[in-house]
């Protein structure tokens, strides 16, 4: 069922410009030479915003039945969330300061 009204191509151009602006912000933040962890956090937040816009508008998830979104996204997010268990080990390696060849 496609009950919701999808944007026209002109509407998509607006979204495309928005995504380009986000890329511009990412490059600007990189050139600002922020500390690594601050830059990483900023870039990840912006990347997730881009991904959400891409999923909802370019991939039309916003205009499909909500059951599709709720069937797919929580499962993917859960799997990616569970991968975060690796960080303590990565930071342990970094704190040992052992150069890895």
């Amino acid at each position: 069922m496609e009950a919701k009204h999808e944007p026209t191509l002109a509407g998509y151009v607006g979204i495309w410009i928005g995504l380009l602006c986000i890329v511009g912000i990412e490059v600007f933040l990189t050139l600002m030479k922020l500390p690594t962890h601050e830059l990483l956090a900023s870039l990840l937040v912006l990347a997730f915003i881009e991904a959400a816009i891409g999923l909802l508008y370019f991939m039309h998830l916003k205009y499909e039945k909500h059951i599709l979104l709720w069937s797919l996204i929580p499962a993917v997010v859960f799997v990616l969330f569970m991968m975060n268990h690796i960080w303590p080990d990565a930071f342990r390696m970094a704190s040992m300061k052992v150069p890895i060849q």
């Binding site: 069922m1 495309w16 881009e50 797919l72 390696m93 970094a94």
Partner: protein, 209 residues
């Protein structure tokens, strides 16, 4: 396509329960593939991040000027998503000629992206980078992760270009329908979406500070 049309397309007189998702099975299949591929890319990006965080002598080979190529690649790929949307809209409206033109534009932009990608690779090869070599000294893991992740993404782009060519030919000859164009569009947008993570994590995070 409406639920009724989906049910009707199953065969003349078929008494089928409507899809709970309200989409064609091929589109649902593509969504399932995208979910699994998102996890695949998520895993390798987590692996890269693990090595990046755990390696004290991680190199940052990119200069501010050298990310221009990456910015152009991002612009080209984002624009190809827009032309893909044009193809999907035209296909849904039954404007075959316009759809083929939009698909052609998407294919050309995809080829430009792949060419820029390969140019970047060859520049790095020329500087001495490889899967197992680091001309800056220190860990060789940068080359291994960079070429593997961008290579996997490039493989997706090339596969997408081939799929788009097949879809364009099939749609032009009435062998395939608007649903096939839309389903391939989902794949193409996903490839674009993955780049939204690859570009900042592999390029911008490795600019020398």
């Amino acid at each position: 396509m409406s639920e009724a049309e989906i049910t009707m397309s199953a065969g003349q007189g078929a008494a089928m329960e409507a899809s709970p998702y309200g989409i064609q099975s091929k589109k649902l299949t593509m969504w399932l593939f995208i979910a699994s591929d998102a996890v695949t890319f998520g895993a390798i990006l987590f692996g890269y991040s693990y090595l990046r965080a755990g390696t004290p002598n991680w190199p940052t080979p990119f200069e501010a000027g050298s990310i221009v190529n990456g910015v152009i690649m991002t612009f080209v790929l984002l624009t190809s998503s827009l032309t893909m949307l044009g193809a999907v809209i035209a296909a849904k409206q039954g404007r075959k000629s316009a759809c083929i033109q939009w698909l052609g534009a998407t294919i050309v932009l995809g080829i430009i992206f792949a060419a820029l990608h390969l140019r970047e690779w060859f520049r790095m090869f020329h500087e001495g980078w490889s899967l197992s070599n680091n001309p800056m000294g220190g860990t060789t893991l940068f080359g291994a992760t960079f070429f593997c992740i961008t290579g996997l993404h490039l493989m997706h782009v090339i596969s997408g270009i081939i799929a788009l060519v097949v879809i364009a030919i099939g749609y032009n000859t009435d062998w395939l329908d608007a649903g096939h164009v839309e389903t391939t569009g989902l794949y193409w947008h996903f490839v674009d979406l993955v780049w939204m993570f690859v570009f900042p994590l592999l390029y911008l995070m490795n600019v020398g500070r």
